[in-house]
């Protein structure tokens, strides 16, 4: 008997009472979506900025390696998407279009279509996500309703920059992935 059959047979042999699968209510949300989303992103150590603040951020830091995949920001791009993600190791700023954001926790949904390469939002030094103000949902239940049966090969909720507290529980931003997250709401 293969291990597959072995495991399945062992489970089948166990007498079990059925237990119904509950329906999940969507639950209310007391706060204004935009206000709550901004607070959530800040709590996750990200920032919500305007388009002109983004331009300042790039200018002040004199970033030269910028890859843009967001709508309407093409002029900021200094390099195209490579075919191999390893070539992104020196990337300073990635600008990506987000699908939608979640007010209760600041999570932003991204799919293969937004990312170009799956490594992009992780390997870049700084991450910028462009999000439409009307693309905000209240909580994770509404988020999964919105995702529905979407067929992307890879989907991702990003809620903040890479962080760790593994050394004496002191929060450090920029563990392996992006050292900062900025969200441009428009």
């Amino acid at each position: 008997m293969s291990s597959r059959e072995n495991i399945l047979a062992k489970i089948k042999a166990i007498p079990r009472e059925d237990s119904p699968l509950p329906e999940i209510p969507s639950f209310g949300f007391p706060m204004d979506h935009k206000a709550a989303f901004i607070l959530s992103i800040q709590a996750n150590k990200g920032e919500v900025i305007t388009e002109s603040e983004l331009k300042d951020f790039i200018a002040i830091n004199r970033f030269e390696k910028i890859l843009n995949l967001a709508k309407g920001m093409e002029s900021l791009s200094t390099q195209p998407l490579p075919s191999d993600a390893h070539e992104l190791n020196e990337l300073e700023v990635a600008i990506i279009q987000g699908e939608f954001g979640v007010a209760e926790n600041g999570a932003i949904w991204l799919t293969d279509e937004n990312l170009g390469l799956r490594a992009l939002p992780f390997i870049t030094e700084h991450l910028v996500i462009v999000l439409e103000e009307k693309a905000l949902v209240s909580n994770m239940h509404e988020a999964y309703q919105r995702i529905g049966a979407q067929h992307s090969g890879f989907g991702l909720f990003i809620a903040g920059p890479s962080k760790t507290a593994d050394i004496e529980q002191s929060l450090v931003i920029g563990a392996h992935g992006a050292k900062s997250l900025r969200v441009v709401l428009k």
Binding site: I7, F154, A159, A178
Partner: protein
């Protein structure tokens, strides 16, 4: 070695033990604070519990469905009945790709299967990429906590270790500096690895996708730069529907560290072009546990670690005192299922205060199962009053109905008891193996006077 013996080793460094206790309590406190911001918190716990009950009742069906969907999405699915088979499957994938070095993100399952030493014995370099796990890997230690692997170490220890391994400045203990050094070191490993291994937080039967949650982004750095992704998944990690993720992702990070969600929550459905994803579905004792009516609920665990952070014994005895891969309250009901003799003292490493049960996001009746294991173990060891577990079982802590009544009182007291009491030999899990002489005034009286 028994839990009390190892706990006394931990308590030898009193200052560190106190720090450990207070730090984990702080994490527990953060969990409390954030859970109170969600009016439907208790309803979410109930939903999570019901979903997991449904999973356990239909596990075979969901596994079949998950496999079918995952295969249709281009994922290669493997089944392993035990740790040995799991390790062999992983090795054979590595050999097929002539791979001699891998990166691995946090996976308690691969700890359980002792994958690292197995691969190393077969000539494969394994690099754990979670910062805490990399730290303990450098020390040749297992993680001491399932969410906070290096919580037993102080920054001085890590500074010395990094000075030796990564040539950081001697004496520089700044966490940001040390983390940055690890970032540079691990970046190289990420760029060089052809195969990356991850654990799995949730596998969705409906879609065949699986979800991995991290704050560091290390799982994703590994898998998206590698050609091959191997995901190791215990069969109990299945959930029925995609929308169930809404419930679990709301509960997981809030329960674990008091944050609203982990910063990266990756949903893997099919491999990127030209790449491979493998899933290894592992039993390794889970079907045995499912067959134990009294203990099967332990399989509902989503590994948030909240029961450890809240446990007065865990906080004061450290993860290593348990001697099991999963420590703390949940480890004390899972481990005896794997080897009841080896782990016979673990169900006694509890006050039965019930705090673990109170915080558990999937409502596992942890403290009741601890009590059940005590009965099983006591039965198995006969009525010889001299056996260690009997001695403890006959003590005051073995009266669960009494503790059900006084549970909340006890919880309060554990916070307000002065250090001189909790850290002295009076603590059973501390220096002494036997229960202490009854104090002159009863706890009840003491509490009345001092509240």
């Amino acid at each position: 070695m028994s839990h009390p013996t190892k706990a006394s080793e931990f308590l030898q460094d009193a200052a560190k033990a106190k720090w450990h206790d207070e730090t984990l309590w702080f994490v527990r406190d953060k969990r409390d604070t954030i859970s109170k911001t969600i009016p439907e918190w208790e309803q979410l716990r109930e939903l999570a519990s019901q979903i997991k009950d449904n999973v356990l009742a239909n596990l075979d069906q969901y596994l079949i469905q998950f496999e079918e969907k995952a295969r249709a999405n281009g994922i290669q699915v493997h089944w392993a009945k035990d740790a040995e088979e799991h390790n062999q499957i992983v090795l054979s994938i590595l050999q097929k790709h002539h791979c001699k070095a891998i990166v691995k993100s946090k996976s308690i399952l691969t700890e359980e299967c002792h994958l690292n030493p197995f691969l190393e014995n077969n000539g494969v370099e394994v690099v754990d990429t979670d910062l805490g796990e990399r730290i303990v890997q450098f020390l040749n230690q297992p993680p001491s906590h399932i969410v906070l692997p290096a919580i037993h170490l102080k920054k001085r220890d890590i500074s010395e270790l990094f000075h030796e391994k990564l040539h950081t400045e001697k004496g520089n203990e700044d966490p940001a500096y040390l983390t940055h050094a690890a970032r540079l070191h691990l970046r190289e490993k990420f760029l060089g690895a052809k195969v990356a291994i991850t654990g799995v937080n949730f596998g969705v039967a409906e879609t065949g996708e699986f979800v991995v949650c991290t704050n560091e982004g290390n799982a994703d750095m590994g898998v998206h730069l590698a050609d091959v992704h191997i995901a190791c998944m215990g069969i109990e990690k299945i959930i029925p529907r995609r929308k169930d993720l809404g419930v679990f992702l709301r509960l997981l990070a809030r329960s674990a560290t008091g944050q609203p969600i982990t910063n990266y929550n990756s949903h893997f459905r099919s491999p990127a072009q030209g790449k491979e994803i493998h899933i290894v579905l592992v039993d390794n004792g889970r079907t045995d546990q499912l067959a134990r009516e009294k203990f099967k609920n332990s399989l509902k665990c989503i590994r948030c670690g909240a029961c450890m952070n809240t446990c007065p014994i865990y906080r004061r005895s450290g993860g290593y005192s348990y001697g099991s891969v999963v420590p703390g309250p949940i480890g004390s009901i899972l481990s005896p299922g794997l080897d009841v003799k080896k782990y016979s003292t673990l169900p006694f490493a509890s006050t039965l205060c019930g705090s673990c049960t109170d915080v558990c996001p999937v409502k596992i009746n942890i403290h009741e199962q601890l009590y059940e294991w005590r009965q099983e173990i006591t039965k198995a060891q006969g009525t010889n009053a001299k056996s260690i577990s009997m001695k403890i079982a006959n003590g005051i802590f073995a009266v669960p109905f009494a503790y059900k009544v006084t549970g909340s009182m006890m919880r309060g007291a554990l916070k307000i008891l002065p250090d001189s009491i909790t850290y002295s030999g009076l603590n059973t899990w501390g220096k002494q193996r036997d229960l202490p002489e009854s104090p002159k005034e009863t706890f009840k009286d003491w509490y009345k006077k001092n509240r």
